[in-house]
């Protein structure tokens, strides 16, 4: 029953996507607005199909319908409710299902948002592109990644449950959907970029229209990545949060290019320049979400996240090649229209700083991509199997990170066009003093090490520059009779809040990397160990039998206060016990406890791993600040005029800025015409 409903949902969505594409294509060819409008309404069938299959999948999980192979592999009667629900995205096929649901949702919101402009060729082409992406993902589920496969033979009485690591922390319910909200969200600006190229309306209109969509996706991606790091910290038990694992890199790569894009796009909005570059960044961001899915879901790279080997690899790689190929061809074809007028006057200007930012983010992305795929390249060249791990990424990305912190401090102070020395002096002097005082204070407090001190100094510099901007903006708001908090709203100010979040993360990262301490102690009950100014007393062990697992926990008292229980958990279908850490969270430092070895035989001593790392909690706070800042940046500001000239719809009468643009005709002249 569930299998049939789910398969029907996938089939419905797939055929609706294909029919919608055909209708839109015919409508575009004939220039028939009714067909265009009808074509876009197929989105509701796609959404209906996606919802139907997700409901069928969840019904199968909750109802323990082990006739479905996916449910038998990832659900069990003993799994708690939360992890039963999240079981849907705990393996490959189900994550594609989640991806498709979110994509259908985005497309539906997009069609609804632009419903008044259904006849606009730009919107029609964007919808067509979106439908093509949807057809691909539903096609995956209809073919190689079918989540509704039925078990042949006897239906098992119980399933295996999700991977043990995916059922011992509630973040599993939030990290993947939020991350996917980010990944999938870039489909919308990508679709508009393709539409702008096809219709030849490569001016700034489509940029302004997709600005908030991009920000929205970026914000979710940011929060999703930070939640992933948090999950890794709380669950994996090694005390770290970022291992440069291929899947982490795969989520970080589109983040890097998207971050470059949301900065350089301001140069285009303001000066009409860097069109090809911005299109390339946007296309790269979308393509990297697909490439990341390929790298991590096809089994070519080893990773903690890699699901079992599957045969969706060629399909994903083919789609990636198609996206890149079509985009490059379109950009080449529209080359003459994309040539930007104007020039950047001075490197010492806001646009100069954005260019430097782009070089830095580009280099960052290049290093991460190269390091991630290099084992494949080396093996292809001469059969060497080698590893590229954290030491490589740390060495190569640290200078880029410092550069970015420095740019974050200087760029907000730079004016457009050209900066004078006097102006820089006035705007940068007190942030520079803030940096100096910070470094001096850190040294006086006994902190040692060049890298962390530079990171703290640059962090203070950047944070002071951002705070200065916010104070000025709040003062300006007050002067105009608005409350001061109004000065936090809007792109520039929300951006500064995001910057402060980045600084918080950078400082926490530097501190935990440089000043963390770890040690393993063999302790008898009642014995106390000391590390990093903390005393840790081992009290004894407790064993609890849960429905889905057996937990052996050590009771450990931290600093004579609360008792924490790091544990080893044995799941019935897992060969090894899974360690689950217990963390005393603090504003200044975390005490991270793991049970390395339980007492065995006659001995009463347990091995307890203790990891004292400063400022870790600020990583998550910084992530929250970044999300909050994105929200402020997307907040609709006070409109200075009823219609932004460059975002007006493509109806000539209400499009004052589009009409006179000779090379930007309102009517599409694509290959279909």
């Amino acid at each position: 029953m569930n299998a049939a409903l789910g398969t029907a949902g996938v089939a419905l969505a797939l055929s609706a996507a294909v029919l919608g594409m055909v209708t839109l294509a015919v409508g575009l060819r004939r220039g028939d607005p009714r067909l265009l409008s009808a074509g876009q309404r197929y989105v509701w069938l796609i959404l209906g199909g996606a919802v139907l299959s997700v409901v069928a999948m969840e019904a199968a999980f909750i109802g323990h319908d082990f006739a479905l192979k996916y449910v038998a592999d990832n659900g069990s009667r003993e799994t708690p409710f939360l992890y039963t629900v999240s079981g849907m995205w705990s393996a490959l096929e189900g994550s594609i299902l989640l991806w498709s649901l979110i994509l259908a949702g985005y497309l539906a919101v997009m069609v609804r948002h632009f419903r008044a402009r259904a006849g606009d060729h730009l919107v029609a082409w964007a919808t067509l592109t979106g439908f093509a992406v949807a057809a691909f993902f539903f096609g995956l589920m209809a073919g190689p990644a079918n989540p509704f496969k039925v078990i042949s033979g006897v239906v098992p009485a119980d399933g295996q449950g999700p991977n043990p690591l995916l059922q011992n922390h509630p973040l599993v319910a939030f990290h993947p959907p939020i991350l996917y909200m980010g990944f999938v969200g870039f489909t919308i600006p990508f679709a508009f970029a393709i539409a702008a190229l096809v219709t030849g309306r490569v001016g700034e209109g489509w940029l302004v229209e997709t600005r908030r969509w991009t920000l929205f996706a970026w914000g979710f991606l940011t929060v999703g990545i930070v939640l992933g790091a948090w999950w890794s910290y709380e669950v994996l038990g090694w005390g770290g949060y970022w291992a440069w694992d291929p899947v982490e890199n795969a989520s970080f790569l589109p983040w890097l290019t998207a971050t470059a894009y949301i900065h350089s796009v301001m140069v285009q909005e303001r000066r009409g320049m860097l069109r090809v570059w911005n299109l390339s960044l946007l296309v790269s961001t979308f393509a990297l979400t697909i490439l990341g899915t390929f790298l991590t879901r096809s089994g070519v790279l080893d990773s903690v996240h890699a699901f079992s080997e599957s045969n969706i690899g060629p399909a994903l790689l083919g789609f990636f090649a198609l996206v890149v190929g079509v985009s490059i061809a379109l950009i080449g074809w529209r080359g003459d229209r994309l040539r930007s007028p104007g020039a950047i006057d001075s490197p010492l200007s806001r646009e100069g700083a954005f260019l430097a930012n782009n070089v830095a983010f580009g280099a960052f992305a290049f290093v991460v991509l190269l390091g991630t795929v290099f084992p494949l390249i080396a093996e292809a060249i001469n059969g060497d199997r080698l590893s590229v791990g954290a030491p490589y990424f740390d060495t190569m990305t640290a200078p880029v990170g410092f550069t970015l912190l420095f740019l974050m401090a200087v760029a907000p102070a730079l004016p457009w066009r050209k900066a004078s020395g006097e102006l820089l002096h006035r705007r940068l002097l007190w942030p520079a003093w803030a940096a100096t005082v910070t470094v001096v204070a850190c040294v006086a407090a006994g902190l040692r090490g060049l890298a962390p001190l530079i990171a703290f100094g640059l962090g203070a510099f950047a944070a002071a520059a951002a705070v200065r901007q916010l104070l000025l903006s709040a003062r300006a708001a007050r002067r105009q009779g608005s409350p001061a908090w109004r000065g936090l709203l809007g792109r520039a100010n929300g951006g500064m809040v995001v910057h402060i979040g980045v600084v918080v993360i950078a400082v926490a990262f530097a501190a935990s990397h440089s000043y963390g301490q770890r040690h393993e102690f063999r302790l008898d009950p009642g014995q106390t160990a000391h590390l990093g100014g903390h005393s840790i007393t081992y009290l004894g062990t407790t064993t609890v039998q849960h429905a889905n697992k057996k937990t052996l926990s050590a009771r450990v008292r931290v600093d004579g206060g609360q008792v924490y229980e790091p544990a080893l958990q044995q799941f019935p279908f897992a060969s090894q016990a899974i360690g689950s850490p217990s963390v005393r969270v603090g504003i200044l430092d975390d005490v991270y406890l793991t049970l390395v070895a339980a007492p065995e035989g006659d001995t009463t001593a347990a091995v307890v791993g203790i990891n004292v790392q400063p400022l870790i909690a600020w990583l998550w706070i910084g992530g929250g600040l970044m999300g909050f800042g994105t929200f402020l940046a997307a907040w609709p500001g006070r409109r200075r005029r009823p219609t932004e000239p460059s975002s007006a719809p493509a109806v000539p009468t209400v499009e004052p800025s589009m009409a006179p643009v000779a090379d930007d005709p309102p009517v599409a002249v694509g290959p279909h015409a």
């Binding site: 694992d245 007028p341 290099f374 080698l386 004016p415 020395g421 006097e422 001096v440 060049l450």
Partner: protein, 160 residues
């Protein structure tokens, strides 16, 4: 921006003094704060080597970070060899012969692996070179072929 009024082209002398003072204080603080490197302890050296060795039985973690028995064995072996007076290179060489070359998390600086170090540097230089070229071209032709339409767009944007 309330203070965007253009100032004099050259900063006043007192300004330069302020920045020189900042540079001096920063340099002094960093020199002091660099800390005394000194010879590392055996345990420190062993830990540093272990961070560059892959845990053979887990994924994506170093032998220093992992609690797996195989990592514990590697850590003990490294410490034993450090105490026996072997150099870092000798210890790494032993581990490579005991396992395989991919036990090293940091790619080597010769052979094919040199590409992973060199390519980003080459790309970085190329990007900077491209940027310098672009600025020179912009300086040479500051106002190239601004179409009336684009000028209107820019004006519109600037007036906002």
């Amino acid at each position: 921006m309330p203070e965007a009024a253009p100032g004099p082209a050259r900063p006043a002398r007192s300004h330069l003094w302020a920045w020189a003072l900042i540079a001096l204080v920063l340099a002094g603080a960093l020199a002091l704060g660099r800390g005394d490197p000194g010879p590392p302890s055996d345990a420190q050296r062993a830990h540093d080597i272990a961070t560059e060795i892959r845990c053979p039985t887990c994924r994506g973690l170093s032998a220093a970070d992992s609690d797996a028995p195989s990592s514990q064995a590697i850590r003990d072996e490294i410490l034993r060899r450090v105490q026996a007076g072997q150099t870092d290179g000798q210890i790494r060489g032993y581990l490579v012969s005991r396992y395989t070359i991919d036990i090293l998390l940091e790619p080597q600086r010769h052979g094919v692996a040199v590409l992973v170090w060199a390519l980003p540097i080459v790309a970085g230089i190329a990007a900077l070179g491209g940027l310098i070229l672009a600025f020179r071209r912009w300086r040479a032709h500051p106002g190239v072929a601004v179409s009336a339409g684009d000028q209107a767009l820019v004006d519109e944007a600037l007036r906002r």
